[in-house]
């Protein structure tokens, strides 16, 4: 068993073990039932996120993308695995490292790349940037820039499901740095107290910006915090999409079926700095540490080898998909580059719903103060 689980009501104290490496999660029921096409789709999404972000990094270094660029490279299997389990009434929200989640829910590379380029064709018309991708039509509620600020919003999405009597769950992603924010701890208490069907997913990549887990969290087993709120938790690895799916499926099913929150800690790793501007990330960790993870746990390689081994893909097919994704990413950069920026008149749209919708009787008074 690669995960450690503790019944929250149990009085025994157990220390979470590091998740084991050996179990073949591909044979777990939730994964065994996957069709060939579905498995290929998982690979395609993972490799797509990788190639998209590599292309965005080039664009950033060329000065085409402003502000921050928080790359998800190394963590792709987490969002891919969990999003693949989403049902009609499930919703998802995350923090600023949001490209992977956006592509996994089905947002196009074009709208995402154009958003980073600050173009009118971007998913947020260039008003949000890298950290603020949104697609409510795909149940994807962002893309939020302030650490842990999205966690109560995720609870709210789940609250709405419960209020409306809909069977579903909300997935609220956060990083290991966010667990030390008060808003998150307040939210854990609230969702457990009210039995709200939200699954918090801590993507623990070991570093909150430049501060290692050891230097930021008194209790390094982050999932243990759920105990303080009488909440269920599990820990698993994040490099194997099948392991992510197997464990997350339990959490999501429990949330949907029993209307209970869940805290999932997924141990993962980012290859790049906190943001691209964090060029000195090798100063707070060793080059060897990064290389070791890449060599043994690279999410793209792991799923590729798994699918080749089980006969789902040939090496040539895998390479073809990879090339398609590279081409798609390249095309998205071209699309973004050639797209126009929004006209200046867009500065004061999307501020107030009532103004945008020109509602009768509700447009009294001055809304904007430019003089």
């Amino acid at each position: 068993m690669a995960t450690t689980k503790k019944k929250s009501t149990s009085k025994t104290t157990s220390v979470a073990k590091k998740p084991a490496k050996s179990t073949n999660f591909a044979t777990a029921p939730i994964n065994k039932s996957l069709s060939k096409e579905e498995k290929i789709a998982l690979y395609s999404t993972i490799v797509g996120i990788r190639r998209f972000e590599e292309r965005s990094l080039r664009a950033y270094n060329q000065g085409k993308i402003g502000g921050f660029l928080h790359l998800y490279i190394g963590q792709e299997a987490v969002a891919t695995g969990i999003v693949s389990l989403m049902e009609e009434n499930d919703h998802i929200i995350t923090a600023y490292r949001d490209h992977g989640h956006a592509l996994a829910v089905g947002m196009s590379m074009n709208e995402c790349m154009a958003e980073m380029y600050g173009k009118h064709t971007g998913c947020s018309k260039g008003k949000g940037g890298s950290m603020h991708f949104f697609a409510p039509d795909k149940n994807y509620w962002g893309g939020h820039g302030i650490v842990a600020g999205q966690t109560p919003l995720g609870a709210g999405l789940a609250f709405a499901l419960k209020y409306k009597g809909l069977k579903g769950c909300a997935l609220a992603f956060l990083g290991d740095g966010a667990v030390n924010q008060g808003s998150f701890m307040e939210t854990l208490n609230l969702v457990s107290l009210w039995n709200i069907p939200v699954v918090f997913v801590i993507e623990n990549n070991g570093y909150s910006m430049g501060t290692s887990l050891k230097r930021s969290s008194a209790e390094e087993n982050l999932a243990h915090r759920a105990d303080g709120f009488d909440m269920e938790w599990e820990v698993c690895n994040g490099h194997d999409v099948f392991e992510v799916r197997e464990v997350a499926n339990r959490a999501m099913t429990r949330a949907r079926e029993e209307m209970k929150p869940f805290l999932l800690e997924i141990r993962t790793y980012r290859y790049r700095g906190h943001s691209v501007a964090d060029a000195n990330h090798e100063k707070y960790r060793t080059k060897e540490e990064i290389e070791e993870y890449k060599r043994t746990k690279d999410p793209v390689n792991v799923i590729k080898q798994q699918l080749i081994a089980d006969g789902t893909l040939t090496d040539a097919e895998a390479k073809r998909i990879d090339q398609e994704k590279k081409d798609e990413a390249e095309a998205s950069a071209k699309f973004a580059d050639e797209s126009p920026v929004a006209p200046r008149s867009e500065i004061q749209t999307d501020v107030y719903w009532e103004v945008d919708n020109d509602t009768e009787g509700k447009l009294k008074g001055t809304h904007f103060f430019n003089d």
């Binding site: 971007g122 600020g149 709210g156 609250f159 709405a160 209020y163 809304h367």
Partner: protein, 325 residues
């Protein structure tokens, strides 16, 4: 027309909106079983139950954020801050998420929440419980803010705020909760962005909002009776959106204007109004614009001094005599 308290008027608005729209719910500290710290929600939990009246732990950031998230899926939460001062604990949720989610998503979502609660000094609760942050709210495009000065407006503005599809702050006042005004039995709405001329006059305009508008009205009567100065009192009701036209119309009529508010003066609401008047009605002014605000320090605890610190009739009259000279 029945005479009811400001508190009762707000309760009627909440009660009626809960019945009108199944997505309206009230959440906050002590709003349900305890009947509200200031009894604004008294009896609503018994009437509407746990689903619509929701007691929260003391976690403003969590329940404000939860309300915002729920509103994205169509719930219309009315969040009570026991004191508006406590919204400071939830600033990231209210001033980043509620105000900017719509914008940062390029208009893909809206946040129809109401944040309501008392925002006033004058009750000897010390500086940390006496904030009047309507200026701070108004400084965030995406948010709206209203400050009802009487029971009629409190009910009508609350109903408008709940039906509005943007986040609206309703700044109430503990010193007004027990005051009575005439409020009609039939349904009505007071639209956001529409000021109210409380009293017509010809010599001087006082622009004010919230409880200060009522003090200004009293001062206006005294000025008329004792000093023979005819004062027009404009009650803003809504800070953002702002009814500039009603202010300017009055200024063009009286040519003299003073501004009264409980905000601290630096970047207070009236700083914006003063700027707007000089820009748009410069040639109509026969005297400089004067302001009466809270005396610029954290609120004093001791009652006598706090009563002097926040605008009162004496300070308003003193200033008015200067402007009318």
């Amino acid at each position: 027309m029945p005479l009811i308290t400001y508190r009762e008027a707000i309760k009627q608005a909440l009660d009626e909106e809960i019945q009108r729209d199944e997505n309206v719910c009230i959440m906050g500290e002590e709003v349900a079983q305890y009947n509200g710290a200031y009894k604004v929600t008294e009896g609503l939990w018994e009437k509407h139950g746990d689903k619509r009246l929701i007691d929260t732990p003391i976690s403003e950031a969590a329940f404000s954020g939860l309300a915002i998230g729920a509103s994205m899926l169509g719930i219309r939460p009315v969040v009570e801050m026991m004191f508006m001062s406590f919204s400071y604990v939830a600033i990231d949720q209210l001033f980043n998420n509620a105000s900017f989610c719509r914008y940062m998503s390029g208009g893909l979502m809206n946040v129809p929440i109401v944040v309501r609660g008392p925002a006033n000094g004058g009750t000897s609760v010390g500086a940390t419980h006496s904030h009047t942050p309507e200026n701070m709210v108004a400084n965030h495009p995406g948010l709206k803010v209203v400050c009802p000065s009487n029971a009629y407006d409190a009910k009508g503005l609350m109903k408008a705020a709940i039906r509005d599809n943007d986040p609206v702050f309703v700044m109430e006042n503990t010193l007004l909760y027990g005051e009575k005004w005439e409020v009609p039995e039939e349904e009505y709405i007071v639209e956001l962005g529409v000021a109210n001329v409380l009293k017509e006059g010809t010599d001087l305009t006082i622009v004010s909002h919230g409880r200060c508008a009522m003090i200004s009205l009293q001062a206006a009567k005294t000025l008329e009776e004792e000093h023979d100065i005819s004062v027009e009192v404009v009650d803003l009701r809504s800070i953002r959106p702002l009814d500039e036209e009603t202010i300017l119309k009055s200024v063009r009529k009286t040519h003299r204007v003073m501004l009264v508010e409980e905000n601290k003066p630096f970047c207070g609401v009236d700083a914006q109004i003063s700027h707007m008047i000089q820009l748009k009605a410069f040639d109509d002014l026969d005297a400089p614009i004067h302001r009466v605000s809270a005396i610029d320090a954290p609120n004093f605890y001791s009652k006598e001094l706090e009563d002097w610190q926040i605008p009162n009739e004496e300070r308003i009259i003193e200033c008015a005599l200067k402007v009318a000279e």
